[in-house]
């Protein structure tokens, strides 16, 4: 464990140590997901993970975490933070605010920096066709794919994380996969022409 995480823990020494262990254990998967949500902006992805771990620690201290499905719990906080940021920035992103879950949002000063998938493509930062196909998806679908197909969370946990019924998870996944197959086919055609 990083010794820095244990400095000045005050009277909550045991809780701080327990939460730091959780944070360390899930740091990689949170960062992976945040980077795919944020496109090429690594600083923004790290901001998002940091904000997630602060919000999660607040809930942890308040005993609002029941100790089950830790990955889903942290992903839900990350997702809410991301969606809240996009909602704040929706005039640029074109995101439909009505599709956002009505959970408590987190605060942050990074929400105006999220690039759209189109910006990521224009920046040339998404070289692999799979990444491009993933980034072509609307956020609601991309989140489903990241949680279910990349991080391999069970559909029940994806539904809980996103605050939507399991049937909606399935239908979003079906639409997302079809969209990705279409993008991959089109990219292959373009490659063969060039």
């Amino acid at each position: 464990m990083n010794s820095a995480t244990m400095a000045n823990p005050g009277p909550n020494v045991e809780k701080r140590a327990a939460f730091a262990a959780i944070a360390k254990q899930h740091e990689a998967s949170l960062l992976r997901t945040a980077k795919r949500l944020c496109g090429a902006d690594n600083d923004l992805a790290e901001d998002l993970v940091q904000e997630t771990l602060v919000s999660a620690y607040r809930a942890f201290l308040d005993d609002r975490f029941d100790g089950r499905h830790t990955t889903a719990w942290l992903m839900r906080i990350l997702t809410n933070a991301f969606l809240f940021a996009k909602r704040q920035n929706r005039t640029q992103s074109g995101l439909d605010a009505e599709m956002l879950p009505n959970n408590e949002a987190t605060e942050g000063n990074w929400n105006s920096k999220i690039p759209s998938p189109e910006e990521c493509l224009l920046q040339g930062t998404l070289s692999e066709s799979l990444e491009r196909a993933l980034m072509s998806l609307p956020e609601s679908q991309r989140l489903c794919v990241l949680l279910a197909d990349v991080e391999e969370l069970p559909y029940t946990e994806v539904a809980e994380t996103m605050g939507i019924p399991i049937g909606t998870v399935r239908s979003r996944l079906a639409r997302a996969r079809m969209q990705m197959l279409t993008v991959l086919r089109d990219l292959k055609k373009l490659d063969s022409l060039s």
């Binding site: 990083n2 820095a4 995480t5 400095a7 000045n8 823990p9 005050g10 009277p11 909550n12 701080r16 939460f19 944070a23 740091e27 990689a28 960062l31 992976r32 980077k35 790290e46 993970v49 940091q50 771990l53 602060v54 620690y57 607040r58 201290l61 799979l130 794919v145 279910a148 197909d149 990349v150 991080e151 391999e152 559909y155 399935r170 996944l173 079906a174 996969r177 079809m178 990705m180 197959l181 279409t182 991959l184 086919r185």
Partner: protein
């Protein structure tokens, strides 16, 4: 037997099969659904192609994670980020102070 011959580069499976094929590919289909979807896909080139493509896509998506975990250094927050987190966690521990 060939129920529906695929003559274009269309990706669309038979409409009533899409959900079953997705669930077969991602492993969430119950046994009977899986059997039915695979049987249909054997005789329908559109659905057969779709099942192959969707299974391959899912394999690639799963591989993204395992490749990242095996390649290079695993994703980590920087030391500066952890220091900042430590400060914010200390603020959270103090009632009435909201972390900035």
């Amino acid at each position: 037997m060939n129920l529906h011959k695929d003559t274009s580069d269309s990706l669309e499976p038979c409409k009533h099969m899409e959900s079953m094929l997705n669930r077969t590919a991602d492993g969430t289909a119950p046994p009977l659904m899986k059997w039915y979807a695979k049987s249909h896909a054997k005789g329908c080139s559109k659905c057969g192609n779709f099942l192959v493509r969707i299974t391959s896509l899912l394999t690639q998506l799963k591989d993204m994670k395992s490749e990242e975990m095996s390649h290079s250094v695993e994703e980590k927050l920087s030391a500066e980020r952890w220091e900042s987190l430590e400060i914010k966690w200390s603020e959270v521990e103090r009632p009435g102070i909201k972390p900035g």
